[in-house]
Every structure is written in C-alpha cells, then in structure tokens.
Assembly symmetry: D2
Homo-oligomer: 372 residues x 4
C-alpha cells in the first residue's frame, strides 16, 4: 500500500511521523518513506510493507496531509503506476527528467580520442544541449573487438564535459566496480558534470549488476531493454533496480533481435513507448541508432534514423540517445550508424517538429475529453 502525501510536505512533518507510527502499529507492517524532489515541487510517498492486504485505507485517508492511498495490485511494486500514481520523475544535476520532459542525448557510442570528444561536446553545446552519451566501458560480442578505454579516460572525459557545460553524460557500466570508478573520477575532477549510469541490453538480466546500481542513489539509471526478452521481463529487471532503493530509472527501447525487422539492425520496438508510460512511472528513452544501425535515407530525404526517432517522439518518448561522431568512418565502434556533427542541427529541427506535434496531439486529446 502506498500513501501519497500532498505536494511539498516538509520531510520533518509531525503529521507524517504520526501516520508512520499508525502504520507500524499494525502487526508485521513496516514503512519506507520515498521522497521525490522534482523541479517545481517535492513529493513524499510512504510505502507500507508486509501483510498490508488486510489493512484499512480509511484511517490513512483521514490524515490532512494525505492526497491518496493506493493499493498495489500489479506486479511492478516500485515502478508500477498501479492505475493511480503519477509519473513524477526526478531531477539530476539541474536537469529534470520525467514522463513530461523531453531531452536529446546526442553523443559518441564509444569514447576514442580527446579531439573527437571535444568536437562532439562543442557541437552539442553550440546547439544548446547539455545532455550526452559517451561510453568508456564497451561490452562487445567478440573478445577481439575494441572494448572501450575504460576508467582511464574518465578524467579527461569529465574535464571536457565541464568545459562545455554538459550536465549529464549517459555512460554504460558493465561491472559494479565501474560505479565507484565513475564517482571517484567525478569527485576528483571537482564534479564538473554528472553521470547517468547505463545498463546495456546484454546485462539486462545481470541481476547482480542491477542490484549494485539499485543500491546506490547518487546516479540515476538508464536501463536498456534486453534484446531477446519480453517487455515484461525487462520491466521486472527495472523492478530489481528500484527494489534496491534507487527509483530514478529511465527505460530505454533500442530494438530487439529478429529477422522480421530486416534490413534494420534490430526490430524497432518504439510502439511500446505508450505501453511503458501506461504501466510504469518511468520516463521512456529511445535509441534510434542501435535500432536502425545504418544511414540509409528514404526518398523524402530523411534517414531511417530520423524517421524512427520521429516515431518515438510522436508517441511521447522523453529522451533520445543518438550516436554522432566527428568522423564516423574512423569510429572504433558502430561507425556505420553514427550521424555526422553537421547533421545535428537538422536532427534537432526534425525532432522539434515531432515533439511539438506530440504536445499538440495531447492538448487536443485533452480538449476532446473535456468536451465529452
């Protein structure tokens, strides 16, 4: 059972303390207070754990400070909407991410040279973007492929990010030790930027790693859907993270493996954007680069990567992780799918049209609903 408190309740509210005391007076029931600091307001939720199925909701609803009491019926205990909860999202290093926000994360799939990264960040910054992706630890299908520069590049990656005003870097980790490596490197660099930890598709069911990123709360987690598993299994994997304590999770669709999606690298699964928004409180990211995997364009002059991005955005996606590279032909990883820096303004223009159209769609839907 979740008791949602009214907005902006002080953390030290005596009424809150009384409510917790009441809850814990029921045999076997414990509580866990979850506070979400959003950009414009804060939200407090009290989770009642244990044998709560027989608990009355009335005594809790009667508290002045309570907005609503929600019974948890679905399987996604911590990430689920339970048909009543809002998807409030979170704020990280000044950037607000929720089911209502929209951010582009253009960047390099794998960090290679300082010069390339500098060019990349400069282009992003010039376009007014403060969020990016940059991989230091790369899981590769073959042990003989480039595996990323590892922790060694972190100092200059963070330094460059700070120089260009980048506020969040989405960065994949493949081992729990990377969490501390990243946090240490950030600290040593004077926290010039912040990191969102990325769980790649190959580790989508690496439960030990999920627990590790769930037990730290310094960094939010971008979880990429598993390649050959159902959406439900992937959402259960997010539940692992959330149940560890970290609920600042973004769910990223990136296509799945199937011959039915050819000639694309993966079968683009962005039709599930609205499903995740309905079933969970998680903001939804799309990764058009790994989905499509190549730069072919339609006769209308727009590359497939632009088209599938448009498809995610028009359905309400909140984040776009997209591969760029100053020199795709020399990229050490996934060059064939990288956009060129000079294509960034066009990409932004294109996604802006789609985001505006999405907002218009929801505005009109609200008007229609109001008329009924």
């Amino acid at each position: 059972m979740i008791v949602v408190m009214k907005a902006d309740l002080p953390a030290q509210s005596p009424e809150l303390a009384r409510l917790i005391a009441l809850a814990e007076s029921f045999p076997g029931v414990s509580t866990s207070v979850h506070r979400i600091e959003g950009r414009t307001r804060s939200l407090t939720e009290v989770y009642l754990l244990g044998p709560t199925h027989a608990l009355p909701s009335r005594p809790f609803e009667e508290f002045e400070c309570v907005e609503k009491v929600v019974r948890i019926t679905q399987k996604y205990k911590f990430i689920g909407r339970h048909e009543a909860l809002d998807a409030v999202g979170f704020e990280h290093n000044g950037v607000s991410i929720s089911q209502d926000s929209f951010h582009l994360f253009p960047g390099v799939c794998a960090v290679d040279t300082r010069e390339n990264l500098d060019s990349m960040f400069r282009s992003i910054a010039a376009a007014g973007i403060v969020t990016t992706r940059a991989g230091a630890y790369k899981p590769r299908t073959s042990p003989y492929d480039f595996q990323g520069h590892g922790g060694g590049c972190l100092p200059w990656v963070f330094e460059l990010a700070g120089k260009h005003g980048i506020r969040i870097i989405s960065m994949e980790v493949t081992h729990e030790s990377h969490i501390d490596e990243i946090l240490s490197a950030l600290r040593e660099a004077g926290n010039p930027t912040a990191v969102m930890i990325q769980i790649g598709t190959r580790n989508a069911q690496n439960f030990e790693l999920l627990k590790a990123v769930g037990q730290q709360t310094e960094m939010p987690v971008l979880f990429k859907r598993g390649m050959g598993i159902t959406l439900e299994e992937s959402l259960n994997a997010c539940e692992y993270i959330a149940s560890g304590g970290n609920r600042r999770i973004v769910f990223c669709l990136r296509g799945v493996k199937s011959h039915l999606g050819e000639p694309h690298r993966n079968f683009v699964d962005f039709a599930q954007v609205s499903v995740i928004r309905r079933q969970t409180r998680l903001p939804v990211c799309i990764d058009p680069s790994h989905s499509v995997g190549r730069r072919n364009a339609a006769p209308d002059g727009l590359m497939d990567i632009f088209h599938v991005t448009a498809q995610g955005v028009i359905a309400g996606a909140n984040m776009v992780l997209v591969d760029f590279h100053p020199h795709p032909e020399t990229a050490l990883c996934d060059g064939p799918q990288a956009l060129k820096l000079e294509e960034l303004p066009g990409f932004i223009e294109d996604t802006s049209i789609c985001r505006a159209a999405y907002l218009e769609r929801t505005k009109r839907a609200a008007l229609r609903a109001a008329r009924v």
Copy 2:
C-alpha cells in the same frame, strides 16, 4: 532496362513506335509498354525484356521523348525503384494514391448488418472521407469462427457505399472467384463505388491468388505483409502481382507475430515504412488496428492505436486502414480493437496533426539539402 518517357507523351506517339522498333531490333529483346495515368499527368515506361544486359543505353537516351534510361539491377524488377525511378502511384475511381498522397480508410473489419454499415458510411461521409474498408470474405484461424457474409452482401454493401459517396472500398478476397463476384456485383449495382482488392496476411504467399489478382487490372491491390516472413519475402510476393500485369499495388504493414511485441496483438513494424518507400515504388499503408489489437490508452489520453497510427504517419505512410464499429461489443470479428464512431473526428484530428508534421519535416529536409 526501363526507358522512362517524358511526361504526357501521347500513347500513339510515332517517336515511341520508333523507339520500340529499335529495341526489338536487338536479338531476343521484347518490349512491354506500361502507361501510368496519374491525377495531374500521365507517364509512359517501356520495359525492355530479354538479354538486355549488353544493350547500350545511349541510342535510347538520344530520343527526344525519353526522360531517362534505367538499368534494372535489383531483384524487384517491376516494383523496385532501381535507385532512379519515381513512385508515381495510380488513380482509382477519382482517388489518387501514391507515395505522396495520404488517405484514411476507416471502416468495419467485417460487414455484419445493413444498419451498422449504413451508420459507418454515414459517419465517414460526414467527415469528408470517401475511402473505407469493409470485409465480406473473412479468413479466420478457426473454422468455427464467423467467416463473413460472402458475396451475398455485396449488392447492399455497394448500394450503401454509393448512397454515401464512398469512392473506394478496400475488401479482402481469399479466393480468385471473389474477383469476378465483386466485379459482377459492382456492374449490376451500376458501379456506384469501386473496390481495392485486399490480400490478407495469411494469403501473403498464396502465389496462385497473387497471380490471379495480378492478372486483372480493373482493381488495384492492397497487399498485407505476411505475419512470419521477412519484408523481402513479402516484397517478392508483390512482385508476383506486378509481374502478372497489375502494378497498382499498395503495401500494407500490419504487425508481425512475436512474443517480443507484447502486450500488443502483433509486433508493430511501422519502422519499415521508409524502407518500403526507398526500395519500391509502392505507396505504403499501415493497419494500426490489427497491429495493436486493443483499446488501451496511455496516460496522455491517447490510445495505443492512435499512437502507432501517428508513428506510421510521421514517417510518411500514405494510407491508414483502421477498424471502427458502431457497436464494437457486438462486432462479429475483432471487436476489441475497433474504435467507436464518435471517436472518428478525434482520430482524424490526431492523424492530421501528424500528417502536417510529416510534410513540415520533409519541407525542412529539402531546405537543409538545398543549403548544402
């Protein structure tokens, strides 16, 4: 080899006759003239068949009336773009359908009662739409399910269509005899409307039926992708139709079977809209109803059916086949996925926003390309 003539060349052009004579003077080479009557202009293409790989293109290019000579290198001989051909489309009963047009085909999955169909057509007409879907022959997974009213309902279906000014009905056939049944019924009713023949996903590789619909040219063909086969195999199936003589084909995406697409009925494959537009000359249709299969809505108030439609349209889809029903709860087929008549204006409003956004996207892309 295809010789594309300049627009609006008269069918009886003596220059055309000379070109054909020249072509046929090469040993083993025969010709086939293909004339496409578009809304605003007509186009003539001369196919040179036989051992044309050694043919020089120069003598043909020198004709005054020739726009270009295209060597066929890809596998999709008749439907392919061969990287040089335009996707001119076709006109049927006054409605123009091409890779540049956009039409909604709302309608009933299966015709049931006269009253329901009358309501359906009235709503469509009221919205200014002249294209619909209405199934008389229904292939069903189990022999014990409702199989459609068959040819018996055609007289009143066509009569009602005429009454409401419907110009095209997309109608599935499952047997070659249905072609004549439909043509006869149209004739007997005084051709109050026209039909686009639909090949369902279960018959996507029923080559005998494909040949049959390809050998008639009175009606264009809407081909629905096969459920468990690759896009390439489905395009090869369209090539069967086209090689029979009928090149007025629309390719319809409708989702494919995979557990990875759950909770949707099928795995939505609309990311391939731009692929088909690139590889072939075929207009692309999407069927959001059979893809999604249910009426769930996202928290933004828009049903998944609206969202996936938006995804197809924002990427350039030219047609939308969508299930409506006056009383979905009593529909004899696929009721759970049908929209209600009162939802039609909202659906039109929503798709209009997306179509406008798509056109804006292509306009901006053209401007960007011009700047380079």
Copy 3:
C-alpha cells in the same frame, strides 16, 4: 460428443441405426457417422453435433455396440484426441499410416527430367520402399524462379511410379484445380499409383485451399506447418481440412523461420512431435531437408540431415519426407539440401537404428508402467 463404437461394427448395424435415432431425438442434435478403415480392423464413430453439452452420456453407453462416449472439450473438434480417443490413422493404396506406423518418403523436391525421376524411383524400389515425394507444382518465393512442370508431367510421373511399384507419391498442390488434374491424370494412367496431397507451408493458412482438399476424400492430405505461426494455429488449419470431411491428415513439421536456428535454414521444431501425438489423432511427419537446408556433417561422419531425422524418429515420428536427387548440383530447386542416391542405403540404415530404439523405448516404458 463422440460415440465410439466397438471395432468391426457392420456399417448396416441395426443397433447403430437405433443409436442414431436416439441421438437425433434430442432437440437440435444431428449426427455424422465417420468410418475409419484400418489395415486390420474398421472403426465407427458417431459425431453428435449441435447443443450436446446437456446431453446425458448414459443412454448411449448402454448400447451393446458402444465402446465409449467421449465429450469433446478441446478446440480441435475433429482432429483432437480429447484425452480419450485413439489415433487410428488410415490406409491408402495398401499403405497404412497412423501414429503407430513408420514410413520413409524419399524423393525429389521438384520433378525435372524423366531420366532423373526414373533413377530416383529405381533406387527407392531397390531399397524396398514404396512411398515417395515428387513435386509438380512448386510455390517459389520469387516469381522468377522455376515453378515446377505443372500438370504436364503428371502422365509420365505416374507411369514411372507404376513401373517401379510406388504406391504413394506425396505431391504439393497450390491451387484447388490441381486436385482434379491429379485425379484425372491418375485415372487416365490407369491408377498405377496413388497420391497424397501436400499443403505447403506458404499455404498453411490458405483456408480456401484447405477447404478444397478437405472436401475431397479420394486422397489423404499431408499438411506442412506454417513457417511463422504457432503450432496451435497450424493445428487449427488442419481442423479446417477435417471439418470439410477429410480426416485422413498427416501433420508435417518442417522447421520454422527464426534467426535463432542458424546456421540451419530453418529452426528445427521436431521437439513438437510428441506434442502433436498427444493433442491430436494425426500421424506426424518430419521434413529434415527443408529444416536443415544443407549437407554439412558433424565430426562423427553423420550429416545434420541425418541427425535431425534421427531426432524426429527417436521421438516417434511416423513419416520422413526427405529430398534426394540423382544430380543435386543440377537440381532446379533446393539442390543444396538434397541427398545423393548412393546415400539412400545409409539413410535407411541410420533411421532403422533410430526407429528400433524408439520402439525399444516405448516397450520399456510400458514395462515400467506395468511395474508400478
């Protein structure tokens, strides 16, 4: 409800007539008598159709001639086992096919020359085999591939079959007209052999063709599983055939399309042999050639085609459809998967070991069950 009569009940039994009269005395109930002529005994089943859920079984069980009364609870009305029925099979041109029998059907995928077919049949006959496959009508993914010789080759195909004592040829049809073509050609040739009609994987949901082969009873039907559909959907397709009147159906597994089965041409699905035997009364065939698609051998000296055949047989498969060709390198269709004529004795030897092992497995299982 199905009333199973005791074995060898005469068709004109007065008791049977009384039972039918009793059944039809219930309001809305009609009957359909189904007689199965097996090699050693005949079986009569009376299907009670209509509102039978409220029918008492007692009055029917009391008839002397009744073995048992089975309530139909599953979806596979005509092909299902309903947890009580035996899988009696059928006899065709002196060959008995059931869930207890075992036959090899080696042959050519597509008939090409008279010489090749003569060699093929001679080899089979020399090995003591009287059942084969030979395709005259070939459905091909591309319209530009060899489509088979069609009806024109039937006279000499049947003549050669007769010459070599072939009793059954499994032959794919892709159009209902082929049924009559085959029957006429057989008749004109003096019925020197018999045909089992084959429905290919691409027509697995061509319901009109299924109805057509179901409405004739001269020839049994070999149904090949659809490539991208579930087993349940394929079994429903067989139910179409059976509900038309023809219950002499063999279900053939031939692999399904999936990248997960690479490097084999299709994902071998022979683990479902026992599922079909449990759920239905149909004998089960396997097609190792189309499943595997190539001639690679394991280090143990046995080709993958031999190994997957062994896998089907060890689990109880009743038929093996396998491609051979006198000159695979010149075959017009599927040459890369064809075995050579000189490999036939080895193939027979190998499958015999497996069949013997399967029989031994069931014998031991019965002994173990008896001990409990």
Copy 4:
C-alpha cells in the same frame, strides 16, 4: 597458427623448447603452450600468436614431435575446430568430459533443504552416477522470487556430496565473488567433491563474469546458451572465457524464447548439437528440463522431457543436465518441470537406449565411409 604435438610429449621436451625458440625468432610472434591432460593421454598444443599469417608451416612440420600444424581461419580462435583439430575435452576430479563421453547430471535446480538434497544424492549414487547439478545462487526474473540459499549452504552441500561420492556438481554463479566462495568452501570441507561453474542464460553476455570464470582454471565452465541470441553470439561468449585462459568449457543448449515453440516453455534447439560439435571443440550438454518446462507425456507413455532428451542424445550430446526433486510440488524453483526420484531409473534406462543407438549410428557411418 597452432602446432599440435604428438601425444604424450613430456612437458620438458627439449625438442618442444627448440620449436618454441624457432617460433619466437620470427618478428612479433609470441607463443602460448596449452597442455590438455586427458584420461588416457596428454596433448600439447603450441599457439603462435601475433603476425603469423606470413609464417611458413614447413619448418614446424619438420620437427619429429609435431603431429600437425593448423592455420586458424575461423573466428573462434580458441574454441574452434579450424577443420583440423580434435575435440579432446578435459578431466575434472576423475571424470572425463569430451565430445566422446556421455554423462547424466541429474539434480535439483535449487538447493532447498538438507533432507531433500540428501535424498537426491542418495538416489543418484544408488544409480551409479557421480555427477549432479545443485544451485545455490539463483537468478530469478522477479526480485520477489526465491533467490537461492547463496554461499551459506555450500558447507553442507559439499559435505553431502562427499558422503555420497559425488565427483562433480554443476553450480551456477551470478557474480565473480561466488568463484572464491565456492573454492573456499570446497577447501574448508576438505575437497570432498568438485564443482563445474555454470553460467546461466541470463548472464550469457555478461562479459565481465565470463572473463572472471575464464581467468580461473580450477573449475571447468558449463556455459548455457543465451535465450534470445544466435548460436554464433553464444559461441563468441565462450570465446571470451577461453581467451581468458580457461578452455575447459562445456556448451549447454537449453532452448530459446519464441512463441513458435509453444506449448513448451522454450523452443527446443537440440538440432544444433551437431553444429556445435562441428564448429567447436566443446563437449555439448543439453538441458531438457528448462527447454520443456512441464511434465506432459505423449500417448506412448514417455514424457516430453524424455523425448527431447532422447533427441539430444541420439545426435551425440555429451551431457544431460536434468531437474529432479524429491517433492516437486514443494520445490522453491521450477517444480513443474522436475522429475521425481522414482523416475530416475526409467530416465537412465531411456537415455541408455538412445546413447547405444547413437554409438551404433556412428559405428555404421564409419563402416559405410570405409566401404567407399
């Protein structure tokens, strides 16, 4: 390039030293000696690493002690057969495992109580089997499912194993720390048994864990194929392990996720047994329990679990991992697929028939090959 030495070459052979010196005299070439101790003989291979493509093979072939020189052309550098290498396998705690051996590993999916494990081991031992499975660390799709007893149960698990003479326990690890936990527990218990580390399907591309198990050589590794990835990707994952130094790897097929395999829990992929044996040097294991997932039996009295086991064994599988449980109805994990202890003798009898048939098949194949 791999130089395979003649069998039983002493590790200190001066000729070997000269060969290594010769190899390292080529610029940039280094060597790595790999010694395989088999049950009856030992084998030495010298890997020449670096720019070996231009190296002559002749000077190496001329050494008296050299059996053959193999150029590595395929991608599976360390696990590949390269069309010339034997699959020699390895020995662990007195048990020899190779592409020629055959072992049953019946056991519990997850360790629950001491009593149950004692019963389990007693039954196995009574049947003369010394190899088993027993899971202490269980990765589960939902965080709210039983996750295994973890390291705490290892002391009594190993003690019981020793008591019953169990020589190898296959045990899944989900975190690198489990390796040391297991080794310590074994040591503390006085090494009464040995462990084969199991990598589960969900960690099939957890490359950090693969590296960790590859860098230790005390325990061999049983690698379970990834659920939604191709066979090639799974074999690349094994290459990760092997490239770390540990080449004592067994590849385990356990079915893959696909709706096409229904009603089985997973789509059984045992047709790939012969593929793995051809492409790699790895012994092949099958896991019928996780593939099938339920206890349904065919009308021949044999459960599907028996049938798919038979299918793996008849094609040459070298190991069978199979779930048993003294009380399946109370098992904390995967109870529905567990066989009962009293079914063990039948299972052994059934697989013995299949193994004998497999050996007979290969014997006959060798005779046929000798005749040609």
